[in-house]
């Protein structure tokens, strides 16, 4: 419940409350919410740090002890939101803090503003606040690392029990630096961060490719994905070959004029076609009828597909050689690669009625 309350609030208020001065947390040892703390100068409104920490809760009572101070009434809450441009040190945490879990957010603020001595005490207090208890040692260690990394414009993410492992890049007011959240236990020097950013870029592109290539959802891992992509590209190239064979075999003398095919109707036209292009496997031929001469030409094409010839003349020579052998025996088998491109003619005819008046 504590967590939810604060999470809700976090979504509403950017938590950038600390400027350069360090509130004294030493006095706060988790005994109670009420603490006498020195306020940071830039801290607007409010009466004390505890108000910040517990956040302006619309309904106080559900949060921890009843002793806890009242938290700022909701209408004064906006006073807690310091404008982003005011403080320089805290800009790093802004964009990320909106989305992060509460513990990390508060902790980050502590990292940049508190001295090392106050960390442990603050950690203790925070541990009480936090619903999920995390190991303190790791957190302190994370804080120490974070302290040094603040200088290098990176913030270290504290350990989380949650399974979320995304690292985020924070857009900050200073466009010179990209703030990346490092995972726990990983190096935080600039090289590995750059590596990590590069890897994430690559995985993002792989995801885009996954959307393009159908049937990739079952495959996991880059190698399998690349295999799928290669297969898909090859199948598309084969389809281009088959379609060009079909065009070559057309027994019509219609001129291929641009006027005959209204281009504007193409998008609607395309929508009516089955997604046969997406099938890497070619189903059996059902309705594509070829006369014997066309069959032989298809044989040539398939031979070429398997053994790409070097020149056109060579291709034809090899094709003419292979015709007698294959035409009789495998004329049906070789037609299998043709997919059922031809739709229901009635449906197509309707489409033509629509588009080609």
């Amino acid at each position: 419940m504590d967590v939810t309350v604060l999470d809700r609030q976090q979504a509403t208020y950017p938590l950038e409350l600390f400027a350069s001065s360090v509130p004294l947390f030493q006095s706060y040892l988790g005994s109670g919410p009420i603490v006498e703390l020195k306020r940071p100068e830039a801290y607007l409104g409010g009466d004390g740090f505890h108000e910040f920490v517990y956040f302006p809760v619309g309904g106080g009572p559900e949060f921890g002890d009843s002793e806890k101070l009242n938290l700022v009434p909701p209408d004064a809450a906006p006073g807690y939101c310091i404008s982003r441009t005011s403080s320089c040190q805290m800009t790093a945490f802004h964009a990320a803090s909106m989305k992060e879990e509460r513990e990390d957010m508060i902790l980050e603020k502590m990292e940049s503003t508190t001295g090392s001595g106050s960390r442990e005490s603050f950690t203790k207090r925070k541990a009480e606040v936090v619903a999920d208890h995390k190991s303190k040692d790791k957190r302190i260690k994370g804080e120490v690392e974070g302290e040094s990394e603040v200088k290098t414009k990176c913030s270290t993410q504290v350990s989380r029990n949650s399974s979320k492992e995304n690292s985020k890049a924070c857009e900050v007011q200073k466009p010179d630096y990209i703030h990346v959240r490092a995972r726990r236990g990983q190096a935080t020097d600039s090289h590995s961060l750059a590596e990590r950013a590069r890897r994430e870029k690559i995985s993002k592109k792989m995801k885009c490719l996954q959307d393009l290539v159908p049937g990739c959802n079952k495959v996991t891992g880059k190698a399998g994905m690349l295999d799928e992509i290669i297969n898909y590209v090859q199948s598309l190239q084969r389809q281009v070959g088959f379609l060009s064979m079909k065009i070559a075999a057309l027994n019509s003398s219609v001129e291929f004029n641009v006027e005959n095919l209204p281009i504007k109707e193409f998008p609607a036209y395309v929508a009516n076609f089955p997604a046969a292009a997406k099938l890497p496997a070619m189903p059996n031929l059902t309705c594509f009828q070829l006369n014997p001469m066309q069959k032989e030409a298809v044989n040539c094409m398939l031979n070429e597909t398997i053994h790409p010839p070097l020149t056109a003349t060579e291709g034809i020579a090899s094709a003419s050689v292979s015709i007698p052998e294959q035409a009789l025996s495998s004329s049906t088998i070789t037609l299998q690669p043709f997919s059922t491109w031809n739709m229901d003619p009635q449906g197509l005819y309707n489409v033509y009625d629509m588009g080609f008046h």
């Binding site: 490719l209 590209v233 064979m245 070559a248 003398s253 095919l261 076609f273 030409a297 020149t311 031809n342």
Partner: protein, 134 residues
């Protein structure tokens, strides 16, 4: 025909329409030089080769030099007579001398897939249109 280098938004100069225009022009030339009625296997095969090359060429020219794979294909088309390479044009084996790190390769692959699907769509439409109009 040189269309404007604009893309996407304007439907009249999209990649698809540029490809269609070029490809149909090439098809007209091919069928004019070689009447389809005389359909011996070798003829059909020859025509098939020309049509396939025309299709790939039309697509490469429509993309022009904006992409690494199109540049590779164009250079391959131009140098085909003198020094042929027996390899099929695959994105993974493009004979481009430019640096292709994984990131760029994935970008090129995505664009190439998009162009290939456009090619297949258009050719299928052509086939069915003329198939039905017989």
């Amino acid at each position: 025909m040189m269309n404007t280098p604009q893309q996407v938004k304007n439907p009249s100069s999209s990649l698809k329409s540029r490809f269609i225009t070029r490809f149909l022009g090439a098809l007209t030339k091919i069928t004019a030089e070689d009447p389809i009625l005389s359909s011996s296997p070798t003829r059909i095969f020859q025509r098939y080769r020309r049509i396939k090359v025309a299709s790939n060429k039309s697509m490469a020219y429509s993309v022009r030099s904006r992409r690494i794979w199109s540049r590779a294909m164009l250079s391959r088309f131009r140098s085909r007579r003198s020094a042929f390479s027996g390899r099929r044009s695959s994105v993974k084996t493009t004979n481009c001398g430019e640096a292709m790190d994984v990131c760029n390769l994935l970008d090129e692959t995505a664009h190439y897939i998009k162009c290939l699907t456009t090619q297949v769509q258009v050719m299928r439409k052509i086939v069915d249109f003329y198939h039905l109009s017989k």
